[in-house]
């Protein structure tokens, strides 16, 4: 059953007039409802409809002209030359899929299926604006993430932030109540995970990955 898009639009509680419009594509009703609720909580985003398969998605995309397609699983991506999106001038696409990136050029963002709601919302905003984004490596001890091998632990993020303040190992050690030896161990791990060759480079890379707050 395809919902009437006009009715859908009217039913939403006072969305912003210039809200980013989104079409959800997901196989199961539970997924569709979940994603819809997640996006509806954000006043800057308006869900204009949802589809269960690529054919329906293509049909609705043509009728409703959404700015962004949020697709749960690469199998559901509408394909072919007439799918009407994927280019810079077309519709923005955010894909939720375990198998990331390379195979899906032209997508504005590929997030893991367990992405946090704020990541999905951020990606939808970015796609509506025509931007291409990738998820940040996780810090803060969250073990989830697309690249777990490069995710810094909570302690490492703490040490990195202190390095950014220019604190010497001795001070970092006494403030955290650990030995200088342990600090050096953390720093070696931070450098290796970030692919940095010096403390300075680690701080620069940490900033660019959003691990060090400004």
């Amino acid at each position: 059953m395809i919902p009437d898009p006009a009715a859908l639009g009217r039913d939403r509680a006072a969305p912003e007039p210039e809200a980013a419009t989104v079409l959800i594509v997901a196989a199961s009703a539970v997924e569709r409802a979940g994603l819809e609720r997640l996006l509806a909580a954000n006043p800057g985003i308006r869900v204009v409809g949802s589809a269960r398969d690529p054919l329906e998605a293509r049909e609705l995309a043509r009728r409703l002209a959404p700015e962004v397609l949020l697709v749960a699983g690469s199998a559901l991506l509408p394909r072919g030359p007439d799918s009407g999106f994927g280019g810079a001038a077309g519709v923005g696409v955010v894909l939720l899929d375990r198998e990331a990136a390379a195979a899906h050029r032209g997508l504005n963002a590929v997030l893991p299926p367990d992405a946090a709601s704020r990541e999905i919302i951020g990606a939808v905003y970015a796609a509506a604006g025509g931007l291409f984004v990738s998820p940040a490596p996780r810090g803060g001890g969250a073990a989830r993430g697309a690249r777990p091998e490069t995710a810094l632990t909570a302690r490492e993020v703490q040490v990195l932030r202190m390095m950014a303040e220019g604190l010497p190992n001795k001070t970092i050690a006494s403030d955290l109540g650990i030995t200088s030896h342990t600090v050096k161990f953390h720093i070696a791990s931070i450098l290796s995970k970030l692919g940095a060759s010096s403390r300075t480079e680690a701080v620069t890379l940490g900033l660019r990955r959003g691990l060090i707050l400004l």
């Binding site: 951020g122 939808v124 905003y125 291409f132 950014a164 220019g166 403030d175 959003g210 707050l213 400004l214």
Partner: protein, 310 residues
């Protein structure tokens, strides 16, 4: 021309002038023992204030300051700024002369300069060279904004950091350090030293502005820059917001892309950091963000960057 007519010619005259310039710095350069037997240099900047290079002061307390007249004082570090590699000691400097600083100096590449330091027993050390290059405002790796880039082309003898860079008239152009660049010595210009010294003597640390956001740099598509009249090529996407932080209170959301601060383009982290100096703390600034496909203005009261190490 006149000196050439006197005994010794131009070379001897130049030599005498250099020696005199070094001697004139003698009264206000101190030696500081803060790292067990390897003394470093400091400058009597104003009454009661000695400026040194932060990285050379390994000990926090029980530092011995030796004055040129032989007097010694034991002090602690009153304030440090790892960002600019400056530190301040507060002590009784008595009626001793303070360094003649030239805040209006316009150092130029190729200008003859002297780096002077004091090594406890052996008195002054001097190195003659030129200013290797001068540039505009720059950002150190630790986030401090330095008003002018002064590259040194002279030998960086041990204990050199914390000593002054002086011109031919023995006026201070800056404080030397090897702690900010791995490749060469630089001088921190007088205007930056004065700003940092004021903060350090009043608070013990240098305040920095803070938004409480994690940012990811990205390139903005040309069509968006054109349609929204965005000046810069890039922006910073918010990928983390500290709850209750300055940006969150100002209505900044995850996914927003910062493109300008107070109307001036922000294209990368360096640009943002340079705008979040001490003077920004407590000010309300207009931040322009790209939200979806339109620009939104947020008004954010800049906070103070928390010092996790304190």
């Amino acid at each position: 021309m006149k000196s050439q007519l006197q005994g010794g010619g131009a070379f001897a005259a130049l030599s005498r002038e250099i020696t005199e310039a070094v001697e004139r710095t003698d009264p206000w350069i101190v030696s500081i023992d803060a790292r067990g037997g390897f003394p470093t240099s400091g400058v009597v900047w104003s009454e009661g204030i000695v400026v040194a290079a932060n990285h050379t002061l390994v000990r926090e307390g029980d530092l011995t300051v030796r004055f040129p007249d032989g007097a010694r004082t034991s002090v602690g570090v009153a304030g440090r700024d790892p960002g600019s590699d400056l530190a301040v000691l507060k002590l009784d400097t008595g009626k001793r002369p303070t360094a003649p600083v030239d805040a209006a100096a316009e150092p130029a590449a190729g200008e003859l300069v002297l780096a002077v330091g004091r090594n406890s027993e052996h008195g002054l050390r001097a190195s003659l060279g030129v200013i290797g290059g001068v540039g505009g405002q720059w950002q150190t790796a630790r986030g401090a904004s330095i008003d002018r880039y002064i590259l040194l082309d002279l030998s960086t003898f041990p204990g050199f950091s914390g000593g002054p860079l002086v011109d031919a008239e023995a006026r201070v152009l800056g404080i030397n350090t090897t702690g900010l660049s791995r490749h060469s010595g630089v001088a921190i210009p007088v205007s930056t030293v004065e700003r940092v010294v004021k903060e350090l003597s009043e608070r013990g640390h240098v305040r920095r502005g803070y938004l409480g956001v994690g940012l990811y740099p990205l390139a903005l598509p040309a069509h968006l820059r054109a349609s929204l009249k965005i000046e810069g090529d890039g922006g910073l996407m918010i990928i983390g917001v500290e709850e209750g932080g300055p940006a969150a209170r100002g209505g900044i959301l995850l996914g927003d892309v910062i493109v300008a601060l107070d109307g001036k383009p922000i294209e990368d982290h360096e640009a943002l950091q340079s705008r979040l100096g001490t003077e920004s703390v407590g000010k309300r600034l207009a931040i322009t963000v790209l939200r979806g496909d339109r620009l939104v203005q947020a008004s954010v009261e800049i906070g103070e960057r928390p010092a996790r190490g304190q």
